[in-house]
């Protein structure tokens, strides 16, 4: 059971300046979408619009299932992870507590996920004292613990070292295998190539190109996408 979202002329403006759009597109399936684009191309805003936490100035966004259900079925991981001032275990448990799950069920899922993100030994440690990589893993674990149908990630590995990046990529691929649709922005072309099933290239707030990963990386159709892939500065 996947859920799809369709956007019709969605635009975001702040103080008269256009930040995103107009965008008209559909996103369905169970793939791993990577959003590429230079700084300021609107990647974060696009993710937030999809997640429903950014106010839309124009257009409409519609999920294939009722909105409240859709909101419950998605999760979001921020570029710099937000840690609750609690233990690792309590951070993992938090989204489940919001759903008023019973204590034994919560404990079971928490220990399961702690294992998956490699923090089983750190359950009682304050989350704010973890390293950057551990924090991001915890944030991803906390996002996935509700088994969302869609997971948004905004440059989750931007400030992390190779090892943490590898562990996180493994986590994400695993989640994707288990049926969570992933929509993630990144700057790192190598990472994009490793993870993407399809790519969405944003430029100046619009979708410049969109297609399967293999095709996009091998033979981009647009001039700017090609330049971006080559490593040139694109405006």
């Amino acid at each position: 059971m996947s859920m799809a979202v369709s956007l019709h002329d969605v635009a975001v403006r702040r103080r008269g300046k256009s930040i995103l759009g107009p965008i008209t597109t559909d996103m369905a399936g169970t793939g791993f979408t990577i959003i590429l684009g230079p700084n300021g191309s609107g990647k974060t805003t696009f993710l937030k619009v999809l997640h429903g936490v950014e106010r839309i100035s124009d257009g409409a966004l519609e999920w294939s299932i009722p909105e409240t259900e859709a909101r419950q079925a998605q999760a979001y991981v921020f570029q710099s992870p937000i840690m609750l001032r609690r233990s690792v275990a309590a951070n993992l448990a938090y989204p489940l507590q919001l759903e008023k799950l019973g204590k034994p069920a919560i404990a079971k899922r928490v220990s399961e996920w702690a294992q998956r993100i490699g923090l089983s030994d750190a359950l009682d440690r304050p989350a704010t004292r973890l390293s950057g990589g551990e924090k991001q893993k915890l944030a991803i674990g906390r996002a996935l613990i509700r088994q969302p149908k869609v997971l948004f990630l905004d440059e989750p590995c931007a400030n992390l070292d190779g090892r943490a990046t590898r562990e996180i990529e493994a986590l994400l691929l695993d989640a994707n295998q288990r049926g969570t649709r992933i929509i993630m922005s990144t700057h790192n072309l190598g990472q994009a190539k490793r993870l993407a099933t399809d790519v969405l290239f944003l430029l100046n707030g619009r979708i410049h190109e969109r297609g399967d990963a293999d095709v996009f990386f091998a033979k981009p159709s647009g001039e700017e996408s090609a330049a971006f892939l080559k490593g040139d500065i694109v405006e």
Partner: protein, 234 residues
């Protein structure tokens, strides 16, 4: 210096012999101020938190008023409560004037703005940190307030302790509304004022030291209690 030494000596003997009056007065001080603290916290903690996360039209005005109320002169509060509770005042039929309840009411009015204001400041910071996550997790308003209060509980404890300190050390308002009646409404601060009036500085100072010790003790006790949870310090 002589007076200070004899004050320390008086305090020492009062405590060592567990002077019956002292115990009585001290317990009443605690009873009044702790009750006031609980009521004020029940109002101020959620209110201060709510104020931190809620945007509404007169928010700035409310916050400015709150900060101004923080500096309310206790004597004025005492006078107003006195006039309200007096038999010839609007709430006179309740017969509350010169009872511990009247003292609690006055102290609640004095410390609620203080606790709410400190709460608001602390919660504003925490809310800025948590905002995106809590919005993303689709939390309800009451879940947000509960989360902030729980995770900010150490700061809130400080806010509550500031309120307690102000309550237990306050004399102007409770003197007026309590009347400093022996065995009924006499507390440490009013007893100190009384003994000073009699020129018995040693006893007054002795009571003062007991008051300071009590404030320290309550602070330590609450801090010790809050550390029993093994979640580290923040």
């Amino acid at each position: 210096m002589n007076d200070i030494w004899s004050g320390i000596e008086a305090a020492f003997w009062l405590v060592i012999t567990l002077d019956a009056d002292l115990v009585d007065i001290t317990l009443r001080s605690l009873q009044v101020s702790l009750t006031a603290l609980i009521i004020a916290s029940a109002i101020a903690l959620p209110f201060g938190t709510w104020l931190a996360i809620r945007r509404f039209r007169f928010r700035r005005a409310v916050i400015a008023t709150l900060n101004a109320l923080m500096g309310l002169p206790p004597v004025v509060v005492g006078l107003i409560v006195y006039l309200l509770l007096s038999r010839s005042g609007p709430f006179g039929v309740l017969g509350l004037l010169f009872t511990p309840t009247a003292m609690i009411i006055a102290q609640v009015i004095i410390i609620t703005p203080l606790i709410a204001s400190i709460t608001h400041q602390a919660m504003r910071e925490l809310w800025a940190e948590y905002h995106d996550l809590l919005i993303s997790l689709n939390t309800s308003k009451s879940q947000r307030i509960a989360t902030l209060i729980w995770d900010g509980r150490r700061t809130l404890l400080t806010a509550a302790l500031a309120g307690f300190g102000r309550a237990i050390g306050e004399v102007g308002a409770i003197m007026i509304v309590g009347g400093n009646i022996d065995n009924a409404t006499r507390v440490l601060t009013t007893a100190i004022a009384l003994e000073t009036g009699k020129g018995d500085f040693a006893l007054a100072l002795g009571l003062g030291f007991v008051l300071i010790a009590l404030a320290l003790l309550v602070n330590f006790a609450i801090h010790a209690l809050s550390r029993t949870e093994r979640e580290g310090r923040w």
